[in-house]
Symmetry: C2
Subunit: 225 residues, 2 copies
């Protein structure tokens, strides 16, 4: 999640061992995604401290970062509320996501860009991933699309895409939990995209992307809870 401007250490993994702030960030984020902190609920700093085992200073920084990424809403002197996902926001979100990925696909095809080998490896990793590791599946999926956008060669575009990831990850997580998203289908469509992009078939690639992104915004009701 390189939306935050850190010196990227290169590893894009979920490094559990890092600073106290990182542990707090990972812990609270996982809690939100897994549903331990439901939408609309407030996360008290003290609770976050107990959960993650660090003191308030790094916890506050983690909460600030999660707010900047769109997981939380900070209410002055009230605390951090887990964002609700409304139906309209979901629609807006997928419209913007489609705009971004469409732009990337067009650029890749028109400029004849070569795809990085990461994309294929991510498909294999997706296949090898145990189906019960929901967080892992979501992460792999995120990395695939991120690599796709990155292949367009515009770093700012990747940053924008990363900025959408907070609600997208939550949607994906709920989607898998509810049994909507089938990982096999997703992976198959990913391979289709690679096939179309490899030969710079813009029309076909766009069609696949649109179909792929049209699947998800079904589960509005589940989210606002």
């Amino acid at each position: 999640m390189s939306s935050q401007t850190f010196v990227d250490t290169g590893d894009n993994s979920v490094s559990q061992e890092g600073s106290a702030r990182d542990r707090a960030y990972q812990g609270v984020r996982a809690g939100i995604l897994k549903g331990d902190f439901p939408p609309g609920s407030f996360i008290e700093e003290a609770v976050a401290c107990e959960v993650t085992g660090v003191s308030r200073s790094p916890v506050r920084e983690a909460l600030n970062r999660l707010a900047a990424e769109g997981y939380l809403e900070l209410h002055r002197r009230r605390g951090a509320m887990v964002c609700r996902l409304s139906a309209t926001e979901l629609r807006d979100l997928y419209e913007v996501r489609l705009m971004v990925e469409t732009h990337a696909v067009r650029k890749i095809c028109r400029e004849g860009r070569t795809l990085p080998p990461d994309l294929l490896r991510l498909c294999d990793a997706h296949e090898a991933m145990p189906a019960e590791d929901l967080l892992g599946c979501v992460e792999i999926n995120r990395l695939f699309h991120q690599a796709l956008v990155a292949a367009a060669g515009n770093r700012v575009l990747v940053d924008v895409f990363d900025g959408l990831q907070a609600p997208l990850s939550r949607v994906a997580m709920v989607s898998l939990q509810q049994g909507f998203g089938k990982t096999e289908v997703i992976e198959e469509e990913h391979r289709e995209m690679i096939a179309a992009l490899s030969v710079h078939d813009e029309a076909r690639a766009l069609a696949v992307v649109e179909r792929h992104l049209a699947l998800m915004p079904r589960l509005q009701s589940v989210l606002s809870s």
Copy 2:
């Protein structure tokens, strides 16, 4: 700057009086834009404390926010470095900005959306603004384009646009300081955009936007210093 997910108090002004964190944020941001902290330099927390008159806790939170917005790069155990703006990043940035504003313009025209009265008032405000208030001009310009994008009716798109503002504001600031951007020209083009959008003339509106956004990325040399 609603990139940060706060409960918007409604006023979009630069409220100097707020929490200590806000004062620190405003102070350091202004210092970066005015050039007191040149690109590539490190901002020590102690210095930021002296400048803004608050203690390290709120200063750290302000620096974290500025990093999330793209003003600073946080180096672990090294501190906060003012981001350099490279030529390629500038190119990428304007490509993405054009994508966003183009999308907004298309949507406004195709869906026959009415423009908010704010747009005209912002033009008047721009005209009335004293030319020596560079920060104020940059802010007005930002608000105009933000309102334009907002008129498309997609909140996420506005958030994405806001996320681009850090480097855009810096470019605009340098542009004015160096005497590149003429405020009269900018304002005139703004009025042209409004005219084209009011009658939903998509082709003309797109042409104006492209011309308007093509002006700026001239001053690569000035920025990386």
